[in-house]
């Protein structure tokens, strides 16, 4: 029963708990056992909160016993990216500078999860302050891809994706600033969603790039992602950039799973050269599949998407250079070199040098450069103009089609260490995902098979207009259902990084 519980969907678990066929405590315990068994190898978690998880689970069981209504995800375990503040667990953002920090407040998302009866198992690993595409930038060591432990699970929400793909949790929450949910989702064979900017609250999310950061769900199915999307989203008066509008009907859309008559645009610029052949193969198949299900597919050009990556690597570092200034050793976190002789400035500089990793330092310096007087107009200012051009590309495209599609990533999961010393190569991992961060619209990555050459998962990205998040769920759910039917079993059954591919299934393609 235990191993079956960890293989179930969130919707399935919630139904069993609600029916009283299994207790939330049993569910939590099964997942804590699973973490115990595999996380030494996967390293998805920075902190496992067994006691508080079991306590939260018991509260759900008590509520059920008392006949109180339970939410649609009550009793379902979840891995929370370590960038969300939590009063009962440390929040480190994968950084030495915050090691051991106990926030005195819960993030809005954290609070919503608790109120929805979702059981937080612990804090998931991540690239330091969400900067990276592999979790190799975590100060506490990388997470590993359950498909191949020598490869990265993507990033920066790599602990979240690894936890879900390794069956340590059916759900996880990540943040997506340049692709940090969709890219790890894609390379671990799960669903990753970046909601519309402002659709989910940033309050209590330790900021990387404020104008881009978007919390969102990771799950093994599109419906599970939609259920979590609804539970975590909605207007938050504590976040001035939070959208004051109803959450789009994503759960209904995921159940609808129908694309007939939908106009789908293939983005010309997110295809072709520089992409791994197997990624293109699976992507092309998925597009054909959509067409066969009644969608009208056309090609749409978004001429400025090629400038998204350079614009992003000016905007995100600029904002981060300011956002991360507060880690100055004065009020919380690490303090280095305070021996009574040194000035505050020296202690700040020594602490930040010791507490931040190389990628964080690189981006702080890049952002400081882009914002400094004399360079602002040429860099930050121009990047903000490019942002306008990309938004206009999207607006024009969405006049012609309902959604846009592309591969989620140019390649499948790369080996740990391969790009560690080459920042530019690492930055390419987010080539396809960045445009939606710059324009703020919604986007999802849904698995569309394995690349023939390496047997690793490929993600299909579906992009929808601002606040039309439901549209992309419709498409993703349709693809998921059609491919699942063709395959005959869940894609993750084929993952063998932990030596547990399900016997009786055909091998990798």
């Amino acid at each position: 029963m235990d191993s079956e519980l960890t293989r179930m969907t969130a919707a399935g678990i919630a139904a069993l708990v609600a029916a009283g066929e299994v207790s939330a405590v049993e569910v939590a315990a099964a997942h804590l056992d699973r973490i115990e068994a595999v996380d030494e190898r996967v390293h998805a978690f920075l902190h496992v909160a067994a006691d508080s998880a079991l306590r939260a689970a018991r509260a759900i069981d008590d509520r059920r016993a008392a006949g109180q209504p339970l939410g649609p995800l009550a009793g379902v375990p979840l891995a929370l990216k370590d960038v969300f503040t939590t009063t009962d667990m440390p929040t480190t953002c994968g950084s030495r500078i915050l090691e051991g920090w106990r926030p005195p407040y819960d993030a809005t998302v954290t609070g919503r999860l608790r109120r929805a009866g979702i059981v937080i198992l612990g804090k998931a690993n991540m690239d330091e302050f969400a900067m990276g595409s592999s979790t190799e930038n975590s100060a506490f060591g990388p997470s590993r891809n359950p498909w191949d432990l020598s490869r990265v699970p993507g990033g920066s929400s790599g602990g979240s994706s690894a936890a879900v793909a390794a069956f340590e949790a059916p759900l996880a929450i990540g943040t997506d600033t340049g692709g940090s949910i969709r890219q790890p989702g894609a390379v671990t064979g799960i669903v990753g969603v970046k909601p519309t900017y402002g659709g989910s609250s940033r309050y209590g999310v330790v900021a990387f790039a404020s104008s881009l950061d978007t919390p969102g769900p990771l799950a093994r199915t599109v419906l599970d992602a939609a259920l979590l999307h609804e539970a975590m989203s909605g207007h938050d008066p504590c976040d001035s950039t939070s959208v004051d509008a109803p959450v789009p009907p994503v759960v209904a859309a995921a159940r609808q799973a129908d694309v007939s008559g939908l106009r789908i645009g293939v983005v010309t610029e997110l295809n072709g050269e520089g992409y791994q052949p197997g990624v293109i193969t699976r992507f092309t198949e998925a597009v054909e599949l959509l067409e066969s299900m009644g969608a009208k597919v056309t090609e749409v050009s978004c001429p400025h998407f090629g400038y998204a990556l350079p614009a992003y690597y000016l905007i995100a570092p600029s904002e981060c250079s300011s956002n991360l200034a507060r880690f100055d050793a004065m009020r919380y976190g690490l303090r280095v070199g305070d021996d009574g002789t040194r000035s505050a400035e020296e202690v700040m500089s020594l602490t930040r040098a010791a507490g931040f990793g190389a990628e964080v330092k690189r981006r702080i310096i890049l952002g400081t450069y882009a914002l400094s007087s004399g360079y602002y107009d040429a860099y930050y200012g121009k990047a903000q103009q490019v942002r306008t051009l990309i938004t206009r590309d999207f607006e024009k495209a969405f006049e012609q089609v309902d959604v846009l599609v592309s591969p989620a990533t140019p390649t499948t999961a790369f080996p740990i260490g391969e790009r560690a010393d080459d920042p530019m190569a690492m930055y390419l991992a987010d080539l396809c995902t960045i445009p939606s961060n710059l324009a703020g619209n919604a986007a999802i990555s849904v698995p569309c098979g394995l690349a023939p050459e390496d047997g690793l998962p490929v993600g299909l990205q579906v992009m929808a207009p601002v606040l039309a998040d439901d549209r992309m769920y419709r498409v993703a759910a349709a693809v998921e259902a059609a491919l699942g039917q063709r395959r005959g079993h869940p894609l993750l059954d084929e993952a063998n990084g932990l030596g547990e591919a399900r016997p009786g299934q055909e091998g990798r393609r």
Binding site: W101, R102, P104, T196, Y197, G198, S211, T241, V243, H304, Y307, P310, A311, Y313, L314, S321, A325, A329, M330, R331, Y332, G333, D338, S343, A344, E346, V347, S349, L350, R352, A353, A358, K361, R362, I364, I365, L366, T368, Y369, A370, S372, A378, Y379, G381, K382, A383, Q384, Q385, V386, R387, T388, L389, T391, P423, M424, N437, L438, A439, G440, V466
Partner: protein, 97 residues
């Protein structure tokens, strides 16, 4: 456009990062490549294109002038690297001349 080791050292001081000589060398090389790549934004960002600072345009988000109970000194000082007399203790603010 290229960036020198001295410029990186200046930026590091500005951003309060006591970088080692090694780091300065490495970052200078890497940032040179990155800046050359990101400078491509200048190719298309012509005059007259308005900048976008907020992805989703919203204005006038305010809170009412009503007190929300604060955290309290005990809670906030609990996480301080050093505290004294109910205050955060910080190293001396001016460097010695």
């Amino acid at each position: 456009m290229s960036i020198t080791r001295e410029e990186v050292a200046h930026l590091a001081r500005l951003s309060r990062l006591a970088l080692s000589a090694d780091e300065l060398d490495r970052f200078a090389g890497q940032l040179d490549v990155i800046i050359a790549a990101v400078a491509r934004v200048q190719e298309v960002a012509a005059d007259g294109i308005p900048p976008t600072t907020h992805a989703v345009p919203v204005t006038n988000v305010f809170r009412e002038d009503i007190i929300v109970p604060p955290l309290g000194a005990g809670v906030v000082l609990d996480q301080a690297p050093a505290a004294e007399q109910g205050r955060f203790r910080v190293p001396r603010i001016l460097a010695e001349d």
